[in-house]
């Protein structure tokens, strides 16, 4: 038994930092690994807010309503017990963040203000302007910096996780990682590790995700025997700003504060948006979904916009874009509640959304699937835990807006203490616990890559991957297209063997680090595509026109994928529906 448990946390976003805080408080030693300085993690990009049923608006909200909205929003695919626990913990998490000094917006009485978000009829979302993720991450970063100054946490910023170190019994004994400056590979001992490495947006080329969101760490563990679950569930956010290098998120809070989505009723209408009279605008979400209006869940809004553009041919100026309009709201309110996102639009598009309706289109945004974990956040590899967007729990087939920040913190708060308990009961390792074997496996992989003398550029292969994944595995899926995508990925994998690294130096070599990630991204892409191919139904964000209905008899199951003979092998697991009986999901209903 380890006297002072030593835990490695990989990833310094909300989930990672939450688990670090819990471990440090409980007397454990933490080594925190992150590709970027943790304060620059992708959690900063979250905008709109964090959900918790505090019921401060006299609406009769409660945590069980939040629970039901989340289960229903996820189309009943998520295990219900963890959701019940998370929503129950929500109000306490908000209070804690408030105590840490998060500058949440306030009511005149000095209480927390709440706004509405998609998939609920209650004001349940606490917010700090429109930069809530940034504010929450900073609060946790500050607490971790405090623990760091007290010697409880050691940060390894600028180090990339390569793999878990597993002993002869398949039990985790640490990690291997690479210093992104010196390119040195090392293994680090740990009694348990927690993977909090976020989403996998990069496999779609352009998405709302940050550069580091490649899924490389999850993919490495999957190749080492971890199950990857529900990989086919990818959230395409209805309102993103199309860009040359990425799709920039335009928060759901814009609609939560009254923003309206519309197109001109006449597809040939060339007038400036503001000069088009009310009667000649088609507020199609409000018309199709009178009860929820612009605040239907994201998968529903995304398919509606897709339909307007590609079935009705009514995108603005024939382009794949619709209006998201805030111009009817007064400037002072917009500045107080949404300034952060309005500035993003202003800086990157050049128009002021207080004066001109924004032009938006759906973009890949969130990874509902992830590493399979039990209710203690442990994967099927003993000693490997996961939390946050990197794990598959909570969100099922579709995540509700403002539930991600909550699930990150909840996941970290569960994973941290459970990793400590696990570590305390862990028998001592035999021999070196697999460290030298893993070290030589990783250094060999690096040598192979550095000695490759082919002609393929990794960044170009990545672009081809992104194009294929976006075309075949986002809003609309057909089995023929998915088969084409899988064949394309296999082709890219064979071309990868013919890689040409223009840079073979051993100092801050970004092409080399990227090439290593790319190999993992390709493996994970097959998991997404094959999971989608096998699921012949439509559920939440997974939509097949050839199978337009949800099919509970056959597919009320978690997709579990393991890596067998260098390819995905799919199996199914029953979903925990112990609290709420599945019912049809219909946001168009008026009652």
């Amino acid at each position: 038994m380890a006297t002072t448990p030593r835990i490695i946390v990989v990833g310094g976003g909300l989930a990672g930092l939450s688990s670090v805080i819990k471990i440090a408080e409980a007397g454990g030693k933490v080594d925190l690994f992150s590709i970027v300085p943790v304060k620059r993690s992708h959690s900063v990009c979250a905008q709109g807010g964090i959900n918790a049923a505090k019921n401060l608006k006299g609406e009769g909200d409660d945590v069980l309503k939040h629970f039901d909205d989340t289960v229903y929003g996820g189309d009943f695919l998520a295990n219900q017990t963890p959701i019940k626990n998370m929503t129950a913990m929500g109000p306490a998490i908000i209070d804690l963040l408030d105590r840490m000094g998060v500058p949440f917006n306030r009511t005149p009485e000095g209480l927390l203000d709440f706004r509405r978000f998609g998939g609920t009829l209650y004001h349940r979302t606490a917010f700090a302007g429109a930069t809530t993720g940034q504010q929450l991450l900073y609060a946790l970063d500050e607490q971790v910096r405090r623990h760091e100054s007290e010697g409880k946490v050691t940060k390894y910023e600028g180090w990339e996780f390569l793999s878990a170190v597993l002993d002869d019994n398949g039990v985790c004994r640490g990690i291997s990682a690479m210093d992104l400056r010196s390119m040195e590979v090392r293994t680090f001992p740990a009694d348990a590790i927690i993977l909090c490495t976020g989403g996998i947006g990069a496999i779609f080329g352009k998405s709302t995700n940050s550069v580091v969101c490649t899924g490389s760490a999850q993919a490495a563990l999957y190749q080492q025997g971890a199950y990857y679950a529900n990989g086919e569930f990818i959230q395409v956010h209805p309102t993103a700003i199309p860009g040359e290098d990425k799709l920039r998120l335009m928060s759901e809070s814009a609609r939560g504060e009254g923003g309206r989505v519309w197109v001109p009723r006449d597809k040939n209408d060339k007038r400036v948006a503001k000069s088009i009279p009310e009667g000649e605008r088609w507020y199609f979400l409000e018309e199709w979904y009178p009860k929820y209006g612009n605040l239907v869940p994201r998968d529903v809004a995304t398919r509606a916009i897709h339909k307007i553009v590609y079935e009705h041919g009514m995108g603005i100026d024939g382009q794949p874009m619709v209006y998201l309009d805030l111009t009817h709201i007064d400037r002072a309110t917009l500045n107080r509640k949404l300034e952060g996102i309005l500035e993003i639009y202003e800086k990157f598009v050049g128009d002021d959304p207080r004066d001109v309706p924004m032009k938006i289109f759906p973009g890949m945004h969130y990874t509902m699937g992830g590493l399979w974990v039990d209710f203690n956040q442990m994967t099927n590899i003993p000693g490997v835990f996961a939390a946050g967007e990197a794990d598959y729990s909570i969100h099922g087939a579709n995540r509700l807006g403002a539930n991600s920040l909550l699930s990150c913190i909840y996941g970290g708060f569960v994973a941290g203490p459970n990793a400590m308990n696990y570590a305390k009961a862990l028998p001592a390792q035999a021999g070196d616990g697999g460290h030298s074997a893993e070290f030589s496996r990783q250094t060999q992989l690096n040598q192979q890559l550095l000695s490759s003398t082919g002609s393929e550029n990794p960044f170009k292969l990545w672009r081809e991957l992104g194009d294929t994944m976006t075309r075949h595995a986002t809003i609309i899926r057909y089995n023929a297209g998915l088969a084409e995508a899988d064949a394309k990925i296999v082709e890219l994998q064979s071309r990868y063997k013919n890689l040409n690294l223009s840079d073979k130096s051993q100092w801050a070599n970004t092409s080399f680090a990227f090439a290593r990630q790319l190999a993992n991204m390709l493996e994970l892409s097959r998991v997404v595509v094959q999971g989608a191919a096998c699921r012949d139904e439509s559920r939440g964000a997974h939509y097949k026109p050839d199978f337009p209905e949800r099919n509970d008899a056959q597919f009320l199951k978690t997709t579990k994928v393991s890596y067998v003979d260098h390819a995905p092998r799919i199996e199914w697991e029953d979903v925990d529906i112990s609290h709420i009986q599945p019912r049809p999901r219909n946001y168009a209903a008026t009652a």
Binding site: V36, K39, F104, Q135, E142
Partner: protein
Amino acid sequence: MATATLPTPTTTAAAQRTGTRTIKVEIKRQATPDAAARTEKFEIPYRPGMNITSVLGEIAAEPITADGRETTAIAYDANCLEEICGSCAMLINGKARMACSALVDKLREGDEPITLAPLSKFPVVRDLAVDRSVLFQNLKAVKAWVPIDGSYELGPAPRQFPQIQEQRYPLSNCISCTICMEVCPQFNDSTNFVGAATIAQVKLFNMDPSGAVLKEERLRALAGDGGVQECGMAQNCVAACPKQLPLIEAISDVSRDVVFQQVKDLFAR
């Protein structure tokens, strides 16, 4: 004349071959912290809406200089690409700013190349990537946190009027990009000045009802050498800050508090 500011198409041998417009970029490069710096020139296909990070991505996919020589991808820090993570600060046409929000159409003047260089006041790691960890060290020194009792349930925080939140929130928008330090004439080895970002965080935490418990310690940390009195009021920081933090106001508020604390400490001896 209005058209003068529009990007002008350039025609070069490469562009004539492919029939596309190109943009010229000159990048200051350095292979290691100790290596000599050199400049490489690139000419890459133009697309509307490009920003500097997409220009650098283009070079990574086609690492060939303007004179046709094979080279390596440029090393630089970037993550969110929407000016919220604070990673991609660099000198663009000589000015310290974020590369993701630097749009090519607004940078180009005629056929002049766009120049890129690393921030000048931080140690170069490689090419455009620099080591800015000094800021995080500074934040540790001033205890930029609220010393909560624990993360367990302790009920709600004290109530806070919206007016307080509205003063704290802008300070909490600091993305740690270090541009305020880069442009500050006082931020150099001889003063050891902590810089505006750290001072603004001191104000932020001193304003928090619970964070204020460490107010005196923070003010003492900013007294003396390298502290707030090193500010020469050049006001470059507030002009350059990409998030428009009220830095000058923060510095003058914290200066006043530091002096007050020093006087208080003097009489308490």
